[in-house]
Amino acid sequence: MSIRLRVDGVDREVPEEAGDESLLRVLRDHLGLIAPKNACEEGECGSCTVAIDGEIACACLVPAGQAAGRDVETVAGLAGPDGELHPVQEALLEAGGVQCGYCTPGMVMAARDLLRRNPDPTDDDIREGLTGNLCRCTGYAKIMAAVRLAAGR
């Protein structure tokens, strides 16, 4: 038996014993998918944020077995077929919201989720929507600006 899951539209398979590991470990170590980051691996920083059947979660807190048969989206799957970036990705570059970039994959997933639920967020809404995602470089001002920019598009 093995575990099957869909990651960014591609069917993937890992050995059953990997089901006890975190989804993050399975994505990174078994499948070599480096987009979700491993900054804390205890659900504090949000750098490993992925969407599972459309709902965001810290991949480090999800046992891989729970993702069996489900659709996992990472930041690596957001760009369009011709490489055009998702509006949140584009806005982060335009607003200067990327520095070291380690938080960025999770930040993009959280901001995209926020804008899906709330296309016209206030600043308090943005702060709340990104409250599970830590950034140590930017001081958040330019990340806030990027989300406002993306919301306007």
Binding site: A39, V75, L93, C100
Partner: protein, 637 residues
Amino acid sequence: MTAPLTVPGVRGGVGERLRRSDGRPKVTGEFAYASDLRADNMLVGVTLRSPHASALVRGIDTAAARSVPKVRAVLTHEDVPGAKLVGMGPDKDQPVLAFDRVRYHGEPVAVVAAEDLTSARRAAEAIAVDYEPLEPLTDAAAALASGAPALHPQGNELRAVTILHGDPDTDGPVVVRGTYDVGMQDQAFLGPEAGLARPLPDGGVELEVATQALHTDREQVAAALGLPEEMVRMTLAGVGGAFGGREDLSVHVHACMLALATGRPVRMVYGRRESFVGHVHRHPATLEYEHVANERGDLLCVRARLLLDGGAYASSSPAVISNASTQACGPYAVPNARIEGTVVYTNNPPCGAMRGFGAPQVAIAHEAQMDRLAERLGIDPIELRVRNALETGAEMPTGQLVPGPVDAEALLEGVRGLPEPAEPGPDPRSWPGGAFGAGEGEGVRRGVGYAFAFKNIAFSEGFDDYTVARVRLSAPDGVPLVEVNTAAAEVGQGVVGVAEQIARSELGVEDVRVLPADTAVGSAGAASASRLTWMVAGALSAACGALRERLGIERDALPGPSDLAGLVGDEALEEEATYRHRETERMDPHSGRGDVHTGFAFVAHRAVVDVDVELGIARVAQLACAGDVGRAINPLA
């Protein structure tokens, strides 16, 4: 004369809002950080760390660990091929792997390489270390008390400096005193310490690692491995933030030792808990201050005693106490002063570089003192600061004259003039404590505070501080191309973009490629001390100038692409240049006098803080920052 910022027809020069060239791979998740590195046939390495803050090490038995399946190497201090002690300066006092004793909780004792992480961890747990725990010395003042156990052969005083200026016993009508304690802080960069070491056929080793300073690392790694420096090749891996926490070695020597011992690539990645003990912290400090002023608010004298806890090993503590002491009065003209700064060894985690490097600790104290003085005198806190602010050419307590422009009023009035954020409203998320706060906002009061501070730029006290840059100009297919090679560490701050912009503006070529940072080129020095933009720009500017000279072209009349391609022809031109900033001096050991720093940056902040005075919960509603950055190379950064 100010040189033109941009060259007509060339996009992305100095002063333009430049998008990061590493931005796209970072937003798509393709950018490879050190922790993402992999190699065929790779082993993983783990570190066994001391559970004691202070203990004698009577023996280490690795037999059981070596018999764990899939384990390929278990190494201790006995296996360190070269120097057993590492460190950045002359004070090399930190064991690669502990011998005789451990001096802090988390100190590396042994390393293991195995086929997988689980096996490596199992083996580390199977290492039997015979410790004799000692009472740890965890208080900086106690470390200086007579009868305190000496943690190092030379005693517990790591460095003490005294700065005497004018008449340090000057009295005056208004005196404010305060003692300030500031705690330890962690850089908490998001990308954990990581590196991948590969053995080379010539007996050397190649290391890809997240660091702030490739050459500073290499010097220590080569010494510890007992190899000549040219047999240690280092390349910068993707760095997930640094903030000072990657100036010291982490996985470097350990990964290389394991790779050389096993003949296979070895990757080491710290977890978050390990990261907290795997790098240095900001020094905790106790700061005793006495400010003397006249009734108009002119400062007459400052007396300060600074005690910093350096933790178990020296790291950059000698430089941190120098910065803290020379900047202890803040950016103010003080005619008389006595500053006594001491940093000591304890059994706390080692402290070293973290953003500001000694300046933030004293800023807490000198700014609290200025507020107390303003309150005592009934003077507006900004007016008091502006009244006493340093000016260009003013004498600092070290006797150094302030180089460069200072505009305290523009910075402070600049932040005062910004609109304040809205008062907390009906939405509980705007209250202190946020939506989880227990109150209903009725006890919320707003406070507004100002601060003015400065920080030295680049390395000080006579350090030979330089950066090497190599620039190659070619014209493949008749289109000019510039390739830039430095060892400058891109840690998120954007030095790659700076290099692109400088080269574009200096040569008038749009297609500029910054090659990976490695040790094949000379040292760039560290991505530290807010120095790299200045230093890389200096070196690149010089290298580009040498290229212009060879081509017989002028900076203010650069040829267009086709003319330039014609001048370059089929042969690529290459120039290398080294930039050094103005020389500095070591402080006089008795008076602390000297031309210590090469330059300063000045900042003003305004903090708007809402406090629930009943619950004691505070919320920073806004922090407005004004920094005199001079000409912004990239206003978007």
